[in-house]
Structure formats: structure tokens, C-alpha cells
Amino acid sequence: MTHVQTVPAIPTRERDAAPVTRPGGIGESTTRADGVPKVTGEFEYSSDLFMDGMLWGATLRSPHPHANIWSIDTSEAEAMTGVFAVLTHEDVPGRKVYGMEIPDQPVLAWERVRYGGEPVAVVAADHPETARQALEKISVEYEVLDPLVDAERAIKEGAPKLHLSGNVLRHVRIQHGDAAGAAAEADVVVTGEYEVGMQDQAFLGPESGLAVPDGEGGVDLYISTQWLHVDRDQISESLGLPPEMVRLELSGVGGAFGGREDLSMQIHACLLALHTERPVKMVYNREESFYGHVHRHPAKMSYEHGATNSGELVYVKARFVLDGGAYASSSMAVCLNAATFACGPYKVPNAEVESYLTYTNNPPCGAMRGFGAVQACFGYESQMDKLAEALRMGPVELRVKNAIEPGDRFPFGQEVPPPAPVTEILERVKAMPMPEEKESTGRDLRELPGGVSNTTHGEGVRRGVGYAVSFKNIGFSAGFDDYSTARVVLCVEDGEPLVRVHTAAAEVGQGLVTLQAQIASTELGIERVAVLQADTRVGSAGSTSASRQSYVTGGAVKKACEAVRERLFKRVREELGEGYDELSIVNGNVVSGGEVVSPLVEVLNEEIEETVEYRHKPTYPPDENGQGDVHVQFAFAAHRAVVEVDVELGLVRVVELATAQDVGKAMNPQALEGQIEGGVAQGLGLALLEEIQIKDGRIQNASFTDYLLPTTLDMPSVKMDILELADPDAPYGLKGVGEPPTISSTPAIVAALRDATGRELPRVPVKPEQIVGIAKKLPDEPPQPGSAGYAEVGRLDERREQ
């Protein structure tokens, strides 16, 4: 279905030379090469890519969350001037489905659509507006079906099957000890039902990329993604090409947070480019972006905790139902994570956990910062607060009493590796000075809930304090062959030694390029480092997710540098004699015993190159009882939130967030602070603001006007206490740092809201109507006259009667 057009020869996009930086060593706060261009607007994001002669791609999406497709007529669109291709599933030459874990998602739908926004056809045209108009000319005949949008209903017997395999994507059961039998030993039992809404990654750069045909049947794709090689493998399968004919290069990524781990427009752009023999650019707009990537799984959780009168946990029972939406994405792993973290970082002698992940006709859900641990943490920390209240204990005291320690076993059977400083981070965060509590009246409005909306002058404002602690796996788990590849070249350029580092690891804004340079500079004792653009010319680095890149790609760069160094020293000994022991590189010189043996430039007549793979120690899938050495590393963080609440209007000001986090080694302290502040902001968003509103399977708020994000006005200052307790198995002892700040900041804020209001608040994000207690129904008695203006004008119901 392609218009035959005469097209110019396609030039390959010119590569910029990798910038040479002087990054400093590990442990230094060093200036990022991409920092200034991002701030000044000069940074080239994937949405900024341009080539002469390129076409614009656009996607026709289903307006229905569940429907049969009876016909697709593209003839009118194809006939439009300026339209070069209109493609449907019939034009997908290879596998018509894709998926990271299960290939269940159609590249373009054929008989059935399973969520609102599912791609049905794609268009390439000479202008984005032409492409958009062409979409309107495609006629699709649908038979609308009832959407299955309730995850609980989806797993019940008799529910309509959305996939041939059924609706249960995965069920994980953890059986540890005898929770049922232990119930009799508990003096105090608390139960709770909790719910987490569908959060969006809300990255600023929409899905975008540029596909360029190579004239020989292959394609180059410039793309913002989290995992180049898995993208390439899925794309090549659907294009029916060998992987080497599909080459990917990372372009500027405007944030990811898990939302770029799945494909969005990658296959579509490549299909269009190969059909038209022209470069094709695709850029989603903000609304389309909400349909174009997966979101955080909404969860419903039931908990039962039993404890002795002195506060020792006796047992935990937990049941999760996570809504995976229409397609699998990484839901299998999320289901396992939620189950393994269900009991928190506590000693739990008996546990029974059931975790279900289901298909529905809601938008697909998958990876997002925290990856199953976020939902679980809100559940178990809410329970710990409820238990502390029942026992009349302090919330920190109860947590410390049950804190897990190295040598204990998690409920999923794995021994807790050192360091596991749960007690220490809780005590440290508690010991941090509290923010000053000013008189609530007479303040600057910006220091009150509601801010300059002028909703209160201090009346009805109450302060609350809450604590939470969390843990999260770092790296891929459950037997996955988790590795990264690094190529390091030591050479002389412009008369000075230079290290070139090449990996396929995606820099998504977290500072990985700078970190790789710092590691190379440290290991090879050389100031000048060039980190090449990530692409598929080098082996896989794995995904930029699971807080893993500093560990795994950092480890690969370190290992490659060590290999280069050994070859250099071997060369020095061959050329200058064997008499040199303990060689090292200092300031561009090879040194032995404090004496310069040779300037590096003199022994680098030939460059030295090494490519290595780095793997962390293996993990294993859980057995049928959910037991096993499932994860490789655990990171721990604790948070304290101080909030002020206008209890009449339900408005909240987060006064301060304090955190203590074990990072193993602060590789780049400034970048670390950025990760913690950003992660905390995302946790605050989930606590108070961020939720994709779904009604009958349709997204109601697909914009940044209606999807509420925290701004600088919502974010308080963040006090940090960074612990550097080395992990003996990790490079430099480091621990992944990206996710922990997000996980326990949410329940800490909600705990503080409960402290201020006395309300149960079992769901996040907490809405004003929950805070004032009218979420489910209006109060029997209307609000009483008070200081909010009723005294002067009278009650609303009374005024209506007049």
C-alpha cells in the first residue's frame, strides 16, 4: 500500500565526534557534559532530529478499549497528495506481535483491539498535518465490545478471556512458615485494604525517533529508549530482518522512568522508512504519549498482620491484584517483585503472599521506577503504622524492633546480605532536626496549604509527621542473564593520552555518561575521556532500569579499563624490561615506586582496545513456594515527612522530607542528590497528585493540564543523610540509587497525613475529599460554621433555603 515516488539517495546521518571531557574521578561532584545544553535548550532530543527529505509518521489509534475490527479501508488516505504510505498489519513482514517477556502485543491490530489508543494503522506523509489528515481518511469498521476493566473481575471464573492464554498473566505464591497456624500466637491483629492508582512516568520528552533506510534493505534508527538491544531484537523480528540489518543509536532522551522500556513507535517508523525508502520521523504529542507507553500498575492489596503485645511480628498475610492492562509488557517481573517485597524489610517468621497480575482492557502497564516495590511498600508501611497504633508504640520503635538484619531470611527464603542497615537509617532519619513549627496564622501564604490561592490564613491547619522505610532489588532478578558490555580504547589524540569508552547503556538523564567517564579516568589515571554515543555497534548493556547501570555497566567499564591497564603494563615490561613491579598510571605517566617509568604517550604508539562483558553473581527463579535466591542486591531507604493540612479543605503542604539512604559508595555526590530529590518528587506525586483517571477503559486526563504533577512550589526541601556501607560484591561497593527515594517517600507522606487528620487514607493518591472525609458520600451533617467564612455568610444549605 505504498505510493511509488522518486526519492533521493539517502545519506547516513553524520555522527558527531564524542566530546572529550575531563570528568574527575569517582567520588567527585563533576559537571555533566549535557547539563549546560539542556538548560540552554541546545541539547538535541530525539524529537529534534531532522534530515533533508524526511517524512513524518503518524498513528491511527483505536477509540475503543475493546472492539472487533471488521474492516480497514485505507484507499482514501492513500490517494491524498503528500501521503507516501499507509500501512496496516498486512504490511508487517515479520512477526506481527512483540513484547519483552511475552510477544502478545500487535504491531498493528488486526481483528481485535484491547485498549483505547491501540495502534491500528500508520501513515507517512510530507508534513505532520498531512499525516494527521490522512489518519482521518482511514475508515475502520469496529464492533464495540464491553470492556473488562476490573482486575478482580478479570481473574474470576467465567470472565471473558482477553487472550487465548486467559486473563491471569502471572500468579506468584510465597509460603514461608505457617501463617495460618501462627495466627493463634498473635496478641494483636490488624487488617487493611489498600489501593494504589495508575501513575504515569510523566517524562517530558515524548516518544520520538528517526528511522533512516540504508538503501540495502536495512535501517538505522535514532531513538530515545532504555534498552537498545532489546528494541533492536524486537524490531528486527517484526521487520523480518536479521538483527545486523537493524542498527540503533541512542538519541537525546527526555526522561524514562521505565516508560521507554517497551517499544512505542520504533517498529512503525522503521516499517514506514523501509516502505517509502525515505527517512521517517515520528513524534507523539503529549496526549498520544499517554497512550504510547505503559504506566505503573494499579494495585489492590489486602493485608493482615499479627504481632505479640511487645511488638514482634508473628505473621503477615497479603494478597495483591495488579492490573496489567491489555498486554504483558514486563508485568511478569512486576508481579514477582510485588510478592517478594510484600512484607517489607522486616523479620517475618510466617508469611503467606498471593500476587496476581491480570489482563484487562485498561491501558497496558509495565515498568515504572520502583517496579512493584512501590505498591507493596504503601501496603506494608500502612500496616506497620496501624499496628503501632494498636500496640500504642511509636512507629519508628515498632519498625526498629522488627528490622531485618544481615543473616536473617526474607520471606522468599533468600538470606539477607550485608549491608542491610534498616535500623540505622530509621534511627538516623528520626534523629534529624525537625523543621521549625511556626505559628500557622500570620504566615506568608506560600507557607500554607493552598498557597497563593488564599484558601486559608492559618485556621484549620494541622501538622503531621510520618515515617516509612523500604527496600528494593537492584539489577535483574530471577535467573535473568544480566550483563553489560564495555569497549575501552586507550590512545593518544592531539598529543595527549585519551580514553574512549563505548557502551550501549542508555543515558536517560541520570548522569551515566559522566559516571562512565569518571570510572575510566579513575581506573586509567588519565584526565581526558570521550564517551561515545550509545549504539548497537557494541554488545548489549542491558536496560537502564532496576537502578542497575552504575553497578552493571559501571562494572563493565571498570573491568575493561583493568584489562587495558594490564595490557599497557605488559607492553611497558616488554619494551622497558621486567624490572618494574607495582606499575601504576599517574597524571599520564606510567609510574613504579614513585618514579616515572615512561610518559604514556611514548608507549601508546599503538592504541590498546579491550571489550569485556560484566555479570553480577547469578540469581535464581523462585520455586513453587516462592522461595529462592531471587535478587542480587538490596538497597534501603527511610523517609520522614512533615506535612501541614488544611483539614477543612483537604489541601496539603509538604513542609519537609528527610531521608537516610545507603548507597554503598557516592560515585558522584551531586548526581546522587539529583536522583534522591527527583525520586522523592515522584513519590510525593503519587502520594498527593498523580493518577491517570480511567473511566470504562478510557483515559480521562491525557495532558499535563489534567494529569497533576508536583512543581517546585509543591516540593519541599529534602534533608539527606547518605550512608556509604560498601557491598562487597559490587564495583566500588556501590548500590543502585535511582529507585529507593521513590518507594518510601509516598507512605511517609500518607502517614503524616494520617497523623494530621486521624483519617485512614487507604488509597493513593490521597485526594482532598478523602482528607476531609467526603470521598464516598457527603457527610450526614454539612460542615459546621467556622472560620472558613460560614460565620459571616451562613451555611450553604441555609442560604439555599432563603
Binding site: 512477526r95 506481527k96 519483552m100 517477556e101 510477544p103 486467559g166 532489546v230 517481573a333 535473568f480 532500569s545
Partner: protein, 93 residues
Amino acid sequence: MPGYERAEVSAELTVLPSERAEKPPQEQIEAAKTAASETGLAHEAGPETLVVAGGRREVIEAMMEVVEASLDAGASAVEIKVEAQRDAPRFGG
């Protein structure tokens, strides 16, 4: 994040319906889908294509069920491609 232990074996089955069979082509494909659905291992991978993934023995048994149902319904052929996970050219090359 493919942290989940992926299937040991996957099989892609493409049902080629016969125009001359008693049942119309769509019913021949539906018969294959119904049989695949009962195995609990299958996903659709195209208008006439199914993917069955799991352990080696269960995938082979599921394939036989799908093939038998397809042929019983009148399909003229079932094309099958079986990949062992360790040899599958996917993920991480």
C-alpha cells in the same frame, strides 16, 4: 525488564485454511485458536498465527492439539517453527 524466566521453548503455528473444506476458513482458524486457548500457553501472533510457549514437553503436546484441531476443521496445512530459548535469536545479542 525481562527479569522473568522466559519459556524454554516457543512454537509459532500458522494455520493455512482450505477453501474447499466443509467449514469456512475463519472457522478452521477459530478451531485452532480454541484448541490453543485450552492449552493455556498460547497467544495470537497474527490473523492465522499462534505462539505457544512453555516447557518443551507441554509445548510439543500443545502443538499436537492445535494441529489436530486445525486438520479436523479442514485446514490444508499448519506451518510450525519451534525455537529453543537458548538458541532463539532474541534478547541480548
